[in-house]
Amino acid sequence: MIRDPELLSQLLDTISRFVRERLIPNEERLAEEDAVPPELLEEMKEMGLFGLSIPEEYGGLGLTMEEEALVAMEIGKTSPAFRSVFGTNNGIGAQGILIDGTQEQKAKYVPRLATGEILSSFCLTEPDSGSDAASLRTTAIRDGDHYILNGTKRYITNGPEADLFTVMARTDPANKGAGGISAFIVQGDTPGLIRGPADNKMGQKGAHTCDIIFDNCRVPAENIIGGKEGQGFKTAMKVLDRGRLHISAVCVGVADRLVEESLHYAMERKQFGAMLADHQLIQAMLADSKTEAYAGYAMVMDAARRKDTGENVSTLASCCKLFCAEMVGRVADRAVQVHGGAGYMAEYAVERFYRDVRLFRIYEGTTQIQQLVVARNMVREAS
């Protein structure tokens, strides 16, 4: 749902221009320094990028899913690591508190998440529980008016920098399933919260992940999201649709950028006496990538509109994530191929994107998990 087309086009123009003039020229620096340049981080906060999906009453923009998808496509046109920095505040780091948090919890944290004053992070994955998240082992045992957290969380996005963590932990050791899990808000400076060294990743340099270790970490009981035990996994699941559509839209944006890079190169470079873009086998790759990117766009926009009308889009969001993440992988592969030898060289953006996009097939639910979600929902609805 687009509430005001004129307003949205202004938002998109402003973001697109910021991406083109500020972020794209700094992509190499981001990768080399493995950090978002501090002045750009400030500009991103100033602009309001940390509060895209946070309601206006808390100082955000309150974008609808369709609007957010269009914004994510614009942001997708630059290195995904830039998005990653404000991605958690808009997504998994804030949505849990927003959807299921108490009024006090929302009032205390959400306005500061919207401005980027505090950076948030989401701790679900563990060394022994990734896709099978409901089997997580981190425990939270009640002790008076506190809970004591113990366990290790793995690959935690923005972990090295986050001020606030949403942590999934088992409050009922007797219940090994999803019902035994609760969600906690844990401040980054809580004693017993230990950050591991930043992971050395294949791509998306500048966005950081690390282990978060809870060693007898005492968290006030009032920090349980929604004030009730056993709701954590449900909370985590509620934020998934939005996150999957958001990442799908980012994939479409990256695909658009890669098509643009490929076309530009194919029109500059000459072989056999003609520009690359005049050779039919190159044209086939350009056309396939353009078509697939457009298919992804159409899927994401359709699912986002349906979500805005209140439809349950769990299956469709997984369809989008499944297709778009795989699609951008193929588009990146062709982009390298169109560039030939140059595409294997770090001085061309496609080399970096080729590594960056690999993650899309893994996080926010692997391709295989999306396949399971889609198929299981199909079977459930038919039986």
Partner: protein, 250 residues
């Protein structure tokens, strides 16, 4: 101090300009439009004056079709307080623009009028100067630095061969050059809020200005494509080529 800023809707500076197949005009079909970059600089300067507490109100004005309200909204998002849209679908030339603006100046009585030095569509570089002539106000054009000092302005201008500094008494008209400042990006929440700021819509008739064109557009053509350059072996060869081939010196 009230500051009036005039802005223009033009083709976005990133767009590759194409001529219509019948050469009647530039092709504007599905072309992205934006605020003229020099006008953005003028808006930025006015907003900074407001932030410093020098300006009390920033009013932004444009002349153009209904869609030009997008550029007014942009200016409001950047920090202007209210907008005036003089709506017309006609092609308005510099003199007509200056006459319309003169009427707005008469109504608004600003202490300072800011414009871009020129618009990147037709690059006329006339409106500010014409407006100064029509209103009788002091003018400082192509400003690269402006300092407000009580009732006077120090305007530094980039001219051939150096910098010239003028002192103007207010009210005055200043047109902005490229190096005056680096405009900010609008904050996204401010874009949302800009929707609620007041916008007054008028027509040239309301202002009693006749905007009929004095120039007829005969034909529009793309510039000739540049040919690849050559390297010369010596100064003598260069001089020879400039004389005998290019015939630009004698």
């Amino acid at each position: 101090m009230k500051v009036l800023v005039a802005v223009k809707r033009v083709i976005d500076y990133n767009v590759k300009i194409r001529v219509k197949p019948d050469h009647s005009d530039v092709d504007l079909t599905n072309v992205k439009m934006a605020m003229n970059p020099f006008c953005e600089i003028a808006v930025e300067e006015a907003v900074r004056l407001k932030e410093k507490g020098v300006a009390t109100e920033v009013v932004v004005v444009t002349i153009g079709p209904k869609a030009a309200q997008e550029q007014l909204r942009t200016a409001l998002a950047l920090g202007a307080d209210r907008a005036i849209h003089v709506q017309t679908d006609e092609r308005v030339e510099s003199l007509a623009v200056a006459k319309l603006l003169a009427k707005v100046v008469e109504e608004e009585q600003p202490s300072l009028v800011r414009l871009g030095k020129q618009a990147i569509d037709t690059d006329n570089n006339q409106t500010g100067q014409l407006l100064a002539a029509l209103t009788g106000l002091a003018q400082g054009t192509v400003a690269s630095e402006v300092v407000v000092d009580g009732d006077t302005l120090q305007v530094t201008r980039e001219i051939d061969g150096g910098l010239q500094t003028l002192e103007l008494s207010l009210p005055a008209i200043v047109t902005a050059d490229l190096r005056l400042n680096e405009p900010r990006y609008a904050k996204l929440p401010d874009i949302m809020k800009a929707k609620k700021k007041p916008m007054d819509v008028k027509t040239p008739e309301d202002l009693g200005v006749e905007t009929a064109s004095r120039v007829s557009l005969v034909k529009v053509e793309s510039p000739a494509e540049r040919k690849g350059g050559i390297k010369v072996g010596s100064v003598d060869e260069l001089v020879d080529k400039l004389k005998n081939e290019a015939k630009v010196i004698s």
